[in-house]
């Protein structure tokens, strides 16, 4: 091979490797903060939690149905506001979209008391170790993940769902199409 050509190839290769390393480093550094957090379109990570009546709920068991996965706390005001809407939708979309309300790390008494006060009938589980919350990267409460029948996330709603129609629209989007 022509020596000059060979040199060009070597230079191109070295520069290519260096550029690759630099781009990789910059990319990983810039995405460090958002790494591990979920986005719409991602597969919802599987988890298993036991609800207040002792029943186990595994997310993958709900495939084929929409899931309204809600993280909440008894002390959080917007959580209190959205609960009645959720209760109403749970009745309307029974069998199509399931609600799973995950309380983050409070006591059984507090959650039980809250559920009785608001007359909630959908399954409520307590994430005592906050493991599921960490897996989903939930920061402010409430945060709601709308999960499609195929197990992917349709939408992530941060903050309270104050208006009933807004909640209905979310349910409508993830209900099975049949």
């Amino acid at each position: 091979m022509d020596k000059k050509k060979k040199r060009l190839y070597i230079r191109t290769a070295i520069l290519g490797v260096l550029a690759g390393l630099v781009i990789y480093t910059l990319y990983t550094n810039l995405t460090k903060d958002s790494r591990g957090t979920l986005e719409a379109g991602d597969k919802a990570p599987d988890f298993v939690l036991t609800d207040m009546s002792g029943e186990q709920h595994r997310l993958s068991d709900y495939e084929g149905k929409g899931v309204f996965l809600n993280f909440w706390g008894t002390w959080c005001e917007p959580c209190k506001k959205e609960m009645p809407h959720m209760e109403k939708m749970a009745q309307e979309y029974a069998g199509e979209v399931e609600i799973l309300a995950v309380n983050v790390g409070e006591s059984n008494f507090q959650v039980q008391n809250f559920a009785e006060q608001y007359g909630l009938t959908f399954p409520i589980a307590i994430d005592k170790s906050k493991e599921v919350m960490n897996t989903y990267g939930v920061n402010p409460l409430p945060t709601t993940f709308m999960i499609k029948p195929d197990g992917t996330i349709d939408q992530i709603v941060i903050g309270g769902l104050i208006v009933e129609d807004q909640v209905r629209a979310l349910f409508e989007r993830v209900k099975p199409s049949s």
């Binding site: 550094n29 008494f109 008391n113 170790s129």
Partner: protein, 538 residues
């Protein structure tokens, strides 16, 4: 762009200044100079020879030492700006940086934040500067070490007299070399560990050539260092997490993917007692009150055998007990768990006595765990206390009169009790907060008298893992080897040649000319071989 053929017959790469073989000057400029620049043996630095494609242009840009030095200066200046105000990482986490910088540092802080200096070391342009330095190091080194290696490898024993004439140490004398003199010179050279090559009545003595590779070895170390730093951002290579854990709690260790759990059995803070070691501590104790002796978390490490699905009940098997003290971390796998901080006396449980307000008689004690409450506390004999509501961080009442809590943390606990007694089987409602009791539904005969508070300490542990440390230390060691190699040894050469009735001698070293001159003096002393003179006057 052809090759350059020297009069001696050697074919040099384009751009060569001094013939690699005989040392004749090949460029007009070099021919005119009195002393030649020997830094790269007059070899063709590749960067200066091609400038055609975009690849060559990029290559040449980074190949320039001038550019490299500019990059270093820019990094130094930029890095210094980051030290004017505290970085975002160090400001209190409960305030927005946007507000913080302006509030604390005024207009300067505002501008500082706007430019992005508050998070300078993670900014893309700072990372890009560091990356440019890495690229510059690689290309500068490659472009110099290869031609230099070639030139030193192909150098001839019998250098052309014009090459010798342009050396800093040089002498010329008519006459011819005597074998007796040469014998002595050889012996002296050998004593000084020179490697001797001879050809056609010419002699080249050389030693410590490896010293010339010092800077490049040093650069390899630096590049390794940069690679190590780069690997920190690769997932799994570097973990730095904080875990607040209360006494008695068992929590997942962050950064271990749920594989490990830790239990805080007890947190201890010990202080030095007055008189314990009077000479050392009495003065300090008198001045500041207390001097801490030990911060310690008695920890138990568990492995979760049922890891995999978040939320699944962990099956913990004990790995070990360890006392975590400052500078005495608990180590497992590649992790180290350090004692970082603590908070003493967090509220854990409250004791109340059901008391008759008039007689003061007590009918039993209720212990409310602030983290796990019961619905009903049965005191026997028809006395019961029902918990109607618990507000861990009581924050007043809503318009509807409902008590609210502003966080899930038991900072200011309040309780709504229903006190059931034989006289009042339906119960009487009492709202109890710290140092205050309310009777929202009318006056009661009983009250919940506060008796006692159980507290516990909270320990903060830092979880660290750094797999890049070995790479960083190897990089550091190679860096130092390069420095020593280049700084401690000198590459020295001595040429002796007889041609057309004249004796030429010359010497070269990459540093410490004085040392070389002394060495040559002892070697040539007592011989007819002329001693080269230093022609650089400065």
């Amino acid at each position: 762009m052809g090759k350059v053929k020297c009069e001696c017959g050697h074919v040099n790469p384009h751009g060569t200044i001094l013939c690699e073989s005989c040392g004749r000057a090949l460029t007009e400029e070099a021919k005119k100079e009195n002393l030649v620049d020997m830094r790269y043996e007059g070899s063709a630095r590749r960067s200066q020879t091609y400038n055609k494609t975009i690849i060559d242009k990029v290559w040449n840009f980074f190949s320039s030492v001038k550019v490299g030095i500019w990059i270093i200066v820019l990094i130094l200046v930029a890095a210094s700006f980051g030290t004017i105000l505290p970085q975002e990482f160090y400001i209190p986490s409960n305030v927005e940086p946007e507000v913080y910088y302006e509030d604390v540092y005024g207009w300067f802080g505002k501008i500082y934040y706007m430019i992005g200096f508050h998070d300078l070391y993670n900014s893309i342009w700072f990372s890009a500067l560091i990356a440019a330095l890495g690229v510059s190091l690689v290309i500068c080194s490659l472009d110099r070490v290869i031609p230099l290696y070639r030139a030193l490898k192909t150098q001839r024993v019998d250098r052309h007299e014009s090459f010798m004439k342009k050396q800093r140490l040089f002498a010329e004398q008519t006459g011819s070399l005597q074998e007796a003199d040469m014998e002595k010179v050889r012996a002296e050279l050998k004593k000084k560990h020179y490697k001797i090559r001879e050809k056609n009545g010419s002699l080249l003595a050389e030693k410590n050539r490896f010293s010339r590779w010092g800077p490049y070895v040093n650069h390899v170390g630096l590049i390794l260092f940069l690679v190590g730093a780069m690997l920190r951002s690769v997932q799994g290579m570097y973990v730095d997490e904080l875990l607040w854990i209360r006494e008695g709690e068992t929590l997942q260790i962050p950064g271990t993917d749920g594989e490990y759990y830790v239990k805080n059995d007890q947190f201890t803070l010990e202080n030095y007692e007055e008189g314990e070691d009077p000479e050392v501590f009495n003065e300090a104790i008198n001045r500041v009150g207390t001097v801490a002796k030990n911060y310690q978390t008695d920890a138990i490490l568990y492995h979760d055998e049922n890891n995999g699905l978040p939320g699944a009940k962990p099956e913990l098997s004990e790995v070990k007990h360890d006392d975590i003290q400052v500078n005495e971390p608990m180590k497992f796998d590649n992790f180290a768990v350090y004692q970082t901080s603590f908070r003493q006396d967090e509220m854990k449980a409250m004791h109340f006595a059901l008391t008759n307000k008039v007689t003061g008689e007590e009918f039993g004690e209720v212990v409310v765990d602030l983290f796990d409450q019961q619905e009903m506390y049965d005191l026997g004999n028809g006395y019961k206390v029902e918990l109607l509501g618990y507000y861990p961080d009581f924050d007043g009442f809503t318009e509807e009169g409902e008590p609210t809590s502003k966080s899930p943390l038991p900072n200011k606990p309040a309780f709504l009790f229903n006190m059931i007694s034989p006289e009042k089987p339906d119960g009487e409602v009492s709202f109890v907060e710290i140092q205050n009791t309310m009777e929202p539904l009318g006056e009661t005969t009983y009250k919940m008298a506060f008796k006692n508070l159980e507290t516990r300490d909270v320990s903060a542990l830092t979880i660290r893992k750094d797999l890049t440390l070995p790479i960083l230390s190897i990089g550091g060691i190679i860096f130092m080897i390069g420095v020593i190699q280049g700084a401690y040894w000198n590459h020295r050469r001595i040429w002796i040649r007889e041609k057309d009735g004249s004796i030429y001698t010359a010497g070269h070293t990459n540093k410490n000319w004085h040392g070389l001159k002394r060495e040559i003096h002892t070697i040539l002393e007592g011989t007819a071989v002329p001693e080269p003179e230093d022609r650089q006057t400065d």
